[in-house]
Symmetry: C2
């Protein structure tokens, strides 16, 4: 195979993977909506268990904090592929249309959450409440910032 | 502190952790139900993407299979803590009462699924369709076996 052919083939294959629309992973828009709501339900559950410790509503348990933070960091990777075209809404809690019209900004917010969740998982391993509080706060800010911009009140 | 006191204290602390009912992690039974349904929604989504490859409905993509299997193995750890008391049902898809009356058997089924999902994650890394098919089949069997015994049709 000539170099040019190889390069074109490689580019096509790479393009096929990276350009495959997220919607192709879901049979129907409703499936994508159900999926992302499920992901946020799990993220919210585990993140709020850390929040309860950070805010003194439950006793600090370093091992539980670390386990919950690890789960949050893993789950943080999931929901954003499910913001497929045609799934904006106007009801409370649904994504506004600007998720799609300002997609680069939305993706930045998603990335920020994932990065802070990753840092939270590392911080939680320190088994120190003050360290946990700081990392929880930084992560919570990324949630709120995205909700303020892209989610219907 | 006398040895007996130390042992009793240690036993109490250990007991507190291991015997803490799963329900204590959820404010309300409805939260537990929502949580486990969310976990199974995500597991089902990613597992069925592997199934589509194993059954030839989508082209085999080793990297995608490995990524999906890794997610399934992680998620497999989540739903079972949410089978809290008082959350059986009679509607299609809800857990039968024997989840609670035969809890040890249910827990064995859960463990079997988690073990097979772990093996699937390892198998998927081999980047070989036949290996994937075998591990997918073994994992699917554990799903079906538990559903047959513990889920309302």
């Amino acid at each position: 195979m000539k170099l040019k052919t190889i390069l074109i083939t490689a580019a096509s294959v790479a393009g096929l993977c990276s350009a495959l629309p997220a919607s192709a992973q879901f049979q129907k828009p409703e499936d994508a909506i159900k999926y992302r709501k499920a992901a946020f339900t799990l993220i919210g559950t585990h993140f709020s268990r850390i929040g309860a410790m950070a805010q003194g509503r439950t006793p600090f348990d370093g091992a539980a904090a670390a386990a919950n933070a690890e789960i949050v960091a893993d789950l943080a990777k999931l929901p954003f592929s499910a913001f497929v075209d045609g799934t904006s809404g106007t009801d409370k809690g649904t994504p506004k249309a600007n998720v799609w019209t300002e997609r680069a900004k939305f993706d930045e917010h998603a990335k920020a959450m994932q990065v802070e969740a990753g840092k939270l998982a590392v911080a939680a391993k320190a088994n120190n409440l003050d360290t946990l509080k700081l990392a929880f706060g930084s992560t919570a800010k990324t949630c709120k910032s995205c909700h303020d911009s892209f989610r219907n009140d």
